[in-house]
């Protein structure tokens, strides 16, 4: 079911999926640190 069209920046769409997940993880860590710092 993979798109034959090549995505920008990465060789496959998996690169984009991993990037989105990595950013989500970074956001959760950032939010956790903010909560700790200001609570």
């Amino acid at each position: 079911m993979e798109n034959p069209e090549k995505p920008p920046l990465f060789a496959t769409w998996k690169g984009w999926y991993l990037l989105v997940l990595a950013i989500l993880l970074a956001e959760i860590v950032f939010f956790y640190l903010i909560t700790k710092a200001f609570q």
């Binding site: 798109n3 920008p8 984009w16 989500l24």
Partner: protein, 568 residues
């Protein structure tokens, strides 16, 4: 509002309408009217998807939500990026391959016509009602600010946006959303900067966060666990956000035609994917910043007198009621608290950045105690409002940001912020009307009409359906006054239906052996289960999306054993 604000407001709104009409030229057939000839680049898809989701409710309620309940509402969006990935991987290839107009067409190809009609009916019902609430949201601004009649305000407001939505279809919707979102985000950023700028000398951005943190509002991540274990009634925590939010976002973006219709306008599957994945990247930071404005406003109100209740209307009613004396007593107590606070915060700028943490902690602790006192008074006044018969007016969450804007922001910026609320509302309502019309036309009218129709007739009828739904939403808006926090009302309504819709699509995509009858009855039973759970249990509404989807998948699997039917 001063004449300069009126000028900014009128020019902005008139400019958007004119731009919408200017961009209205589309091919006079269904593909041109509903899908903009499938020629949109990814960045327009992204702005359209964001503009559709972020309504006026988002910008009105979210800062108020942060002010009263803290930053934890942002967790509600944590499941969204994963949903974008799943849709990009599983849903998009099928939607694009079949060159669909609506997501529900696929259900007839995969199952049968009754499943398609049931799900598209659920969509029309839930989206029609929630769009009515979205029409109501900007209208309370005008009525509250200017004392205009709320019912006539709704009629006028809904009417203006219908002009370019009816004439221009999906193309006008996408182009105006692009401009609207730029103005909206710009306006919110300027307001956030202005709040910090208006803090007393010696109090900066970080200090404001520290003050709000001491009042318990920097609770961005919460676990939902108490001494008694996990609290299933807790609405916003990291688990309900990731799991419940994932199911909600998956069903909203994957099965709600108001969103599916946006990314089907893309010129290719690559452009659709990029639009959705970029939405997964930018949505959470955007929501975080909007909520942050709420906690900055809270910090601002520690140095400036805050209203006891942010909606003036029910307070005025109390003044001429049997509760007038109780109100006066409460107000004088509130004045005393404000006096104590003024005295306390005078010393705050000096100690916030000092190395003397004991002094700082003591001051912030006293401030927190006074804040609790104020909260107690707010609870008392809500009880009074309820006892006075104004059942629908006891929640002032939606008024907090707006009242701050009108009372404190400089001239010109007030007009811009009011325009921001209108534009945000129009962006999401316009997309909803377009999708309601497309589902009515494609899933019902063309499905049942035996007459041979040509492109010109279909195009004209589609415009009429758009107009009809606009009128319907205005009528619903007239009855939306008793719904408390609007952002929650819309999401609760969605959680009744979205889980079931998602369950049907998940079965369609991933359980190939299940056929029409099994999934249809599973959807009916799933809907009964979800609505029963909402009314008869106290389970947080975010969980209902997951319950609905899982129930449909399990029930369809079981029911398939009982239905011996030929392959559909």
């Amino acid at each position: 509002m001063r004449w300069e604000d009126w000028l900014v407001l009128i020019i902005t709104l008139a400019g958007i309408i004119a731009y919408g009409i200017y961009r209205s030229a589309s091919t006079r057939n269904l593909e041109g009217y509903f899908l903009s000839n499938r020629e949109m680049p990814w960045y327009l898809v992204l702005l359209s998807v964001m503009g559709t989701q972020a309504s006026a409710i988002t910008f009105l309620s979210a800062p108020g939500q942060a002010y009263t309940d803290g930053m934890r509402f942002v967790q509600y969006y944590l499941g969204l990026p994963m949903a974008m990935i799943v849709i990009s991987m599983g849903f998009l290839p099928i939607f694009h391959k079949l060159r669909l107009f609506t997501a529900y067409e696929f259900l007839e190809q995969r199952f049968d016509h009754k499943t398609r009609l049931f799900i598209s009916f659920i969509f029309l019902l839930s989206r029609g009602l929630s769009t009515g609430i979205s029409v109501y949201a900007p209208s309370i601004i005008l009525s509250s600010l200017l004392g205009w009649n709320i019912y006539w305000t709704i009629v006028v407001m809904g009417g203006l946006l219908i002009i370019y939505t009816v004439s221009g279809g999906a193309r006008a919707v996408a182009y105006t959303q692009q401009l609207q979102l730029i103005i909206v985000l710009g306006g919110m950023l300027v307001s956030g900067y202005t709040v910090v700028h208006m803090l007393p000398e010696g109090v900066g951005f970080r200090d404001a966060l520290e003050i709000s943190g001491s009042l318990g509002k920097m609770n961005v991540i919460t676990s939902g666990f108490t001494e008694k274990g996990f609290d299933w009634t807790d609405r916003y925590n990291i688990f309900s956000g990731i799991i419940g939010g994932f199911f909600l976002a998956l069903s909203y973006f994957g099965t709600d035609q108001s969103q599916v219709g946006r990314y089907l306008t893309a010129s290719s599957i690559r452009e659709s994917r990029m639009g959705l994945l970029m939405n997964g990247i930018v949505k959470i930071p955007m929501q975080f910043l909007i909520l942050l404005i709420g906690v900055l406003v809270l910090a601002f109100y520690q140095f400036n007198p805050s209203p006891l209740f942010f909606n003036k209307a029910p307070i005025e009613k109390l003044r001429s009621s049997a509760y007038a004396d109780s109100l006066r007593t409460l107000e004088s107590k509130h004045e005393e608290v404000i006096g104590e606070k003024r005295h306390l915060v005078a010393a705050l700028p000096g100690v916030l950045r000092s190395a003397e943490t004991g002094m700082k902690d003591s001051l912030l602790g006293q401030l927190s105690a006074l804040h609790e006192k104020e909260n107690g008074m707010r609870r008392e006044i809500r009880k009074m409002i309820l006892a006075n018969g104004a059942r629908s007016e006891d929640n002032d969450t939606n008024y907090i940001f707006l009242r701050f804007v009108v009372d404190y922001l400089p001239v010109g910026l007030v007009g811009l912020l009011i325009a921001v609320i209108f534009l945000a509302a129009w962006g999401s309502i316009a997309a909803a009307l377009n999708s309601l019309a497309s589902s009515t036309m494609i899933d019902f009218h063309k499905r049942f009409s035996a007459a041979v129709r040509n492109d010109e007739n279909d195009y004209r009828l589609s415009k009429l359906y758009t107009l009809g739904w606009g009128v319907f939403c205005i009528i619903v808006a007239q009855f939306a006054t008793g719904m408390g926090s609007l952002i929650e009302a819309v999401n609760v309504l969605g959680s009744w239906f979205y889980g079931v819709m998602l369950g049907v699509f998940l079965v369609a995509f991933y359980l190939k052996h299940i056929r029409g009858n099994a999934v249809f009855w599973a959807a009916i039973l799933g809907e009964v289960l979800v609505i029963s759970m909402y009314w008869f249990t106290s389970v947080g509404w975010l969980w209902l999306n997951a319950v609905g989807a899982i129930a449909v998948v399990l029930l369809a699997t079981i029911l398939q054993f009982f239905f011996k039917e030929s392959k559909t």
